[in-house]
Amino acid sequence: MTVKLLYFAWVREKTGLGEESVDLPGEVKTVADLIGWLKARGPEYEAAFEQSDVIRTALDQTHVSHDAKIAQAREIAFFPPVTGG
């Protein structure tokens, strides 16, 4: 399955890219699975997701927790806790 991954703020700075398209292997079922899979892709991902418990995730632009199933999501975003306002 091909999904679009988006990275914001320091997650973007650490991965070194704002977005990318990836083919997810079948065993990546949850957000936590995806984070684990990304961390194995290289040191920049390892650094970006090191404190994985503070990373927030949105599936198709809706906040979800790390145990959420990715299912048919097309756009998955990773970012730090928000600080607007």
């Binding site: 703020a9 320091w10 632009q61 975003a77 970012f79 730090p80 806790p81 928000v82 607007g84 306002g85």
Partner: protein, 155 residues
């Protein structure tokens, strides 16, 4: 109504537009967030606001709908800027209008509390000593939680 934009906004004009021609409003509350020249004691020379286009608008619309479901608002507005700003500049504007001041005040606080924890914006500060991404604050999470505590108390 919600808007995300780079350019500055004029508080007076925004309020005027919201109330134009209306005589059923009794109370209008506005909140404006501005860039401060210090953060945790260190000088700030500029701030850059990044956001998640698409999701930002969805979240702001959801938050505004939630406020309108909780309070009898005659009108509401959220405007949030993105990009680079310097101290003294406007960042965010929330306006609520209602028949009574209690509803207008509570809804404006609610909008700000939810925006602070739910809307995908991130601030990066720069100063003479460097800079960095602003950390989320526990006090903002606590401010948001009080609204759910009220729901539970009201059940």
């Amino acid at each position: 109504m919600i808007r995300v934009q780079q350019q500055d906004f004029d508080i007076g004009e925004e309020i005027d537009r919201l109330r134009a021609g209306r005589t059923d409003i009794g109370a209008i509350v506005s909140f404006t967030g501005t860039v401060r020249d210090t953060a945790k004691g260190a000088p700030v020379t500029s701030m850059t606001l990044e956001h998640y286009p698409g999701m930002t608008e969805k979240e702001l619309e959801r938050i505004e709908a939630e406020a309108n479901a909780r309070w009898p608002l005659h009108a509401s507005l959220i405007v949030h800027r993105t990009g680079r700003m310097t101290p003294g500049e406007n960042i965010v504007l929330v306006v609520t209008a209602s028949a009574s001041r209690g509803a207008a005040f509570e809804a404006a606080e609610f909008l700000m509390d939810y925006l602070k924890t739910d809307a995908p914006f991130w601030k990066k500060e720069e100063g003479p000593d460097g800079g960095g991404w602003v950390d989320a604050r526990d006090s903002d999470d606590a401010a948001r939680k009080r609204w759910s505590a009220q729901d539970k108390a009201a059940e």
